[in-house]
């Protein structure tokens, strides 16, 4: 059954390599994109940590900063 599936009447090499190539490309793109996102998030966290209380107050007025800090755990998909 499994060998029949892999062989695919002689076309298994072509079919499975096509699917494998597609999935590898997807995985590669996902990893690159995810690492870029994590890098920027970390950069933001470091920069935000270096702010003095006055600057933090100023930054926190903007909703978008709160979103980055609050959803950091959830964004690690």
């Amino acid at each position: 059954m499994i060998s029949e599936f892999i062989y695919m009447n002689g076309y298994g090499y072509y079919v499975l390599s096509s699917f494998l190539f597609t999935l590898v490309c997807f995985l590669g793109l996902y990893i690159i994109t995810k690492s870029q996102l994590t890098k920027e998030q970390n950069k933001f966290n470091v920069k935000f940590g270096e702010l003095n209380s006055e600057q933090v107050k100023e930054a926190k007025k903007q909703k978008i900063y709160k979103e980055i800090i609050a959803t950091e755990i959830f964004s690690k998909i």
Binding site: F5, Y11, Y14, Y30, K47, L51, Q55, A59
Partner: protein, 233 residues
């Protein structure tokens, strides 16, 4: 403008996880349909299964580039940077899909036509699309001047858009190795339902993947903007 960005940011963050899970579910279903349930072709045999990755990739790469070109035109007209961010975030997945379409098409060509590559109108125009994607992405990396990169990438996108109808109608205009379109919106679809269903599911899975990558890229771009904002405090 700030409200729009904040709203978008919140929406982008929350939807990433949902899209990822949805993509994985649809992909599993699509792979099961494409590799196990769908029948083999009476002429091409099991090699027809390559269609389930090749065709959706080609469709989506074409769709994404059309969207990038449209957004580039909108940037020129409305001078809205959000359109620009969307276009920039769409490009990586579009490039990967065009590459997948080319490589899987080449693999499919060997058992079907007896060759890995032919300078056929459809294949050549798809290669040109892939080059346009590459130029678009490289322009972002090479040029640092914002105004200049806006103009260059918009020019690449609009110029590359001319190639889209050429890809679509190449099988009708020239005598090519590719068969005419089997899935049509305005005329009768000639593909059997047993093959159309897995093709539809795989297209949905690939569309969800491009949406996922777009959301992640868009999110990255928004955080980059906010990082610059922090520097100014």
């Amino acid at each position: 403008m700030n409200f729009i960005k904040n709203y978008q940011f919140s929406l982008v963050r929350k939807s990433q996880k949902i899209v990822l899970y949805l993509f994985l579910i649809v992909l599993m279903l699509g792979l099961f349909e494409a590799l196990i349930l769908s029948p083999e072709d009476y002429l091409q045999g099991d090699s027809v299964r390559i269609m389930y990755v090749h065709v959706p990739s080609a469709w989506i790469s074409l769709g994404i580039f059309s969207l990038i070109a449209t957004l580039s035109i909108m940037v020129i007209i409305f001078k809205n940077k959000v359109f620009f961010l969307i276009a920039k975030s769409l490009a990586p997945s579009g490039f990967v899909f065009s590459l997948v379409a080319l490589v899987t098409g080449s693999i499919w060509g060997k058992p079907t036509w007896g060759t890995w590559w032919a300078w056929d109108a459809r294949i050549t125009s798809m290669l040109i699309l892939c080059i346009f994607y590459l130029m678009y992405l490289l322009a972002w990396r090479i040029f640092e001047n914002k105004d200049y990169v806006t103009k260059i990438t918009s020019f690449i996108a609009i110029l590359g858009f001319i190639n889209i109808p050429i890809i679509k109608f190449s099988v009708d205009w020239w005598s090519t190795l590719h068969q005419p379109s089997s899935v049509n919106i305005f005329s009768k679809t000639t593909i059997h339902t047993t093959m159309l269903i897995p093709l539809g599911i795989m297209t949905a899975a690939f569309a969800l993947f491009s949406l996922l990558i777009f959301l992640m890229k868009y999110n990255t771009e928004l955080i980059k903007i906010k990082n610059k904002g922090l520097d100014r405090l």
